[in-house]
C-alpha cells in the first residue's frame, strides 16, 4: 500500500496550483509566442518549432507521470515510431498528402500500441517500478529494430525526410519552407494539444488519474478499474508522443535510431523532472527550456553540461519534486496568503 507521505514542505506545494492562474499563464504565453516573429527573426524562429515539438513530447510524459504517477522511459520509442512513420509515408508517397497520412497514422500507431502494451501489463497488475524497466526495454527494442531494418529505415545512418506541405484540397497549399510559415504551423498545433490535454486532466477522468497517482489501492477500493484508467492514460500519452514524432520528422527532415536511445529517453524524463511534473504547462515549458538550453550549452561544454544536467536531475528527485515550477509556486505562495 502507498505510504503516507510525510508532511514536508515539498509534498503540499507541489500539488497545489491554481487552475485559473494556469489558464491565464498559458494564454499569456500563447499570445507572446504568437507575437514573437514580429519582433525577432532569424535563428530563434528557425529553431523554436523543434523545441515546441519537444515540449509536446514532454507534455505527453507530464500527463502520464505527473498526473497518473506512471513513469515511462518509453516516450522516445513512440516518438521514434512517429518520426519514421512520417519518413516512410513521405518516401512512399502514400495518399494525396502523405504528411497528413503520417500524422493520422502516428496517432493511431502510438495510441493502439500503447493501449496494447498498457492493457497487457496493467491488467495483470504489473507494478509501476517494473513498468519503468519495461518501457526502457521498449525504447531499446525500437532502437534495435530501426537499426536492423536498414533496407527500410536506412539503419544506423538514419533517413532523410521530405518536409510535408499543408494542402487544403481545392483551396491550394502552403509549402513549409519559410521559417515563419513553419513557426505559425507548429504553434497552433502545440497549443491545441496543450488545451486538449488540459481539458482531459481537468475532467472527471483526470481526477481519477490523480487519485490513482495518490493512492491506487484506495482508488480500486472505491470501485475504479484502475488498470483501465492507466491503460487509457498510457494510450493517450503514446498517441501524443507518436504524433510529436511525426511532426518532428517532417520538421527536422532527418530521423535516426538515436531518437529511441537510452540517452534521449532519459532526456525527456529530465525535461519533465526539472520543468515540473505537476502541471502540463510546466512540462511543456520545461521541455522547451531545458531542451534548448541543453542544446545551446552542449555546443559550448558538452561533457560538463551533461554532468550538470545529471546533478540537477538528482536534485529535482531528492529535493525539488516540483521542479522549477514548484519553486516558483512556493515563492508565489509565500507572497500571497491565498492558499490555506
Amino acid at each position: 500500500m502507498k505510504r503516507v507521505l510525510s508532511s514536508t514542505s515539498t509534498a503540499a506545494p507541489a500539488r497545489r496550483f491554481n487552475w485559473r492562474s494556469e489558464w491565464m499563464l498559458a494564454a499569456v504565453t500563447l499570445v507572446l509566442a504568437a507575437l514573437l516573429p514580429t519582433v525577432v527573426s532569424g535563428y530563434p524562429i528557425y529553431v523554436l518549432p523543434e523545441y515546441m515539438i519537444y515540449g509536446m513530447l514532454a507534455m505527453s510524459l507530464g500527463m502520464l507521470w505527473g498526473f497518473t504517477g506512471i513513469l515511462s522511459f518509453g516516450q522516445a520509442a513512440f516518438f521514434t515510431l512517429g518520426a519514421y512513420a512520417m519518413g516512410l509515408a513521405m518516401k512512399w508517397g502514400i495518399g494525396p498528402n502523405p504528411g497528413y497520412v503520417a500524422l493520422l497514422a502516428s496517432i493511431l500507431i502510438g495510441g493502439v500500441l500503447a493501449a496494447l502494451v498498457g492493457y497487457f501489463l496493467f491488467s495483470a497488475g504489473v507494478r509501476d517500478i517494473y513498468f519503468v524497466l519495461v518501457t526502457l526495454a521498449l525504447s531499446i527494442m525500437v532502437e534495435q529494430i530501426t537499426i536492423s531494418q536498414s533496407q527500410v529505415t536506412g539503419g544506423f545512418n538514419g533517413m532523410f525526410v521530405q518536409r510535408m506541405e499543408l494542402t487544403f484540397g481545392p483551396f491550394g497549399k502552403i509549402s513549409l519552407t519559410h521559417d515563419v510559415a513553419v513557426y505559425y504551423a507548429v504553434l497552433p498545433v502545440v497549443a491545441f494539444v496543450y488545451w486538449l490535454l488540459r481539458r482531459i486532466v481537468a475532467s472527471s477522468f483526470g481526477k481519477v488519474l490523480i487519485g490513482i497517482r495518490e493512492n491506487e489501492d484506495r482508488a480500486i477500493s472505491l470501485g475504479f478499474s484502475t488498470s483501465f484508467y492507466k491503460t487509457a492514460a498510457f494510450a493517450i500519452s503514446g498517441a501524443v508522443a507518436c504524433f510529436a514524432g511525426a511532426l518532428y520528422g517532417s520538421h527536422a527532415q532527418f530521423v535516426s535510431p538515436s531518437l529511441a536511445s537510452v540517452q534521449f529517453s532519459t532526456e525527456i524524463v529530465i525535461w519533465v523532472a526539472i520543468g515540473g511534473r505537476q502541471s502540463l504547462l510546466a512540462a511543456l515549458l520545461g521541455g522547451i527550456a531545458v531542451a534548448s538550453l541543453s542544446n545551446y550549452l552542449n555546443t559550448i561544454t558538452p561533457l560538463y553540461w551533461q554532468l550538470v544536467l545529471g546533478l540537477v536531475f538528482i536534485a529535482a528527485i531528492v529535493g525539488f519534486k516540483g521542479g522549477v515550477a514548484g519553486v516558483v509556486q512556493r515563492l508565489a505562495a509565500k507572497r500571497s496568503e491565498e492558499d490555506i
Partner: protein
C-alpha cells in the same frame, strides 16, 4: 427472504494455517455488527474475504441475494461493498473536498446528486471547516473519519471498518460511536466493525460476534458476550 449479507462455510487456509474455519455469518440490511477477538483470531482475514482482498479457500458469500464469491475487488466496490483499512488510506495530497469528490465519482449519477451527497457527508463527519485542507494536514482521528466519509460519498451499502478508532483519543472514540449511529440512521448502512476498544464497543450498543482461532465462538449483545465465561478466558489478560 435472504439476508443482506450471507456467509456460509467461509474458510481461508494459508500454507498449513487455517485463518478462517468454516464461518457462517449473516447480517440484515441496516444492521451494525462488531466483530471482536484476540489477535490472530482471523478478523482481518474475514473482512478481507468479504471485501475481495483475499480469495476464500472454501465457502460462499452472498450479498443482496447474489453470489459474489468469485467477484473481483473492483466489482464488489462497485456494487456497494466498501472497506476502511486499519491505517487511514485516503488521498493525502488532495484536499478533503477533492477526496470526497473523487469518491463520489466512483458511482454513476448526476453531478447534483453527487454534490448534495458530498455536502451531507462532509457535515456529518464534521469536516466542513477543513474542506479545503489537504488530507495529510488532518489529525489521525480526522483522517479516519475522512476515510469513512469517502466510503459514504462512494455510496457504499456494506461498510467494513477495520479498527476505526485505532490511534484515537477517547473523545474521538466517543464521537466515532456517535457518528456511526448517525450514519446508520441517515444513510441506511450495514456495517461490520472490527474493534478492540471495549468502551467503543459498549457505546455502539450493537450485537457482537466473537472470533477465536478462525471460528465464531459466540454471538450476542455486548452484555451477554462480556459476561460469558469462555469469552473471558479467551481474552484473559486483555481486559
Amino acid at each position: 427472504m435472504s439476508e443482506f449479507l450471507e456467509v456460509r462455510g467461509l474458510t481461508k487456509r494459508f500454507r498449513g494455517l487455517i485463518a478462517n474455519d468454516r464461518i457462517d455469518f449473516s447480517l440484515a440490511s441496516g444492521a451494525l455488527r462488531c466483530v471482536i477477538g484476540p489477535n490472530g483470531a482471523g478478523k482481518t482475514t474475514f473482512i478481507s474475504m468479504i471485501s475481495g482482498h483475499l480469495e476464500p479457500s472454501a465457502g460462499t458469500i452472498r450479498f443482496k441475494g447474489r453470489d459474489i464469491t468469485g467477484l473481483s475487488l473492483v466489482r464488489r466496490a462497485r456494487i456497494g461493498i466498501s472497506r476502511k483499512f486499519q491505517t487511514p488510506t485516503v488521498f493525502d495530497n488532495l484536499t478533503v473536498m477533492e477526496n470526497l469528490e473523487l469518491a463520489a465519482l466512483g458511482k454513476p449519477g448526476a453531478a447534483t446528486a453527487r454534490q448534495s451527497r458530498i455536502e451531507e457527508v462532509i457535515e456529518i463527519t464534521r469536516l466542513s471547516n477543513l474542506a479545503r485542507r489537504p488530507a495529510f494536514t488532518l489529525s489521525h482521528g480526522q483522517r479516519q473519519w475522512l476515510e469513512v466519509g469517502l466510503l459514504l460519498a462512494n455510496r457504499a451499502e456494506l461498510l467494513l471498518l477495520d479498527e476505526p478508532t485505532a490511534g484515537m483519543t477517547s473523545e474521538e472514540t466517543h464521537a466515532t460511536a456517535e457518528l456511526l449511529h448517525n450514519l446508520s440512521d441517515r444513510f441506511k448502512l450495514t456495517v461490520i466493525i472490527i474493534e478492540h476498544d471495549i468502551n467503543f464497543i459498549r457505546d455502539l450498543r450493537s450485537p457482537v460476534t466473537v472470533l477465536h482461532l478462525g471460528r465464531i465462538l459466540m454471538e450476542g449483545t455486548f452484555d451477554e458476550v462480556s459476561r460469558d465465561e469462555q469469552v473471558r478466558n479467551v481474552y484473559l489478560g486483555t481486559a
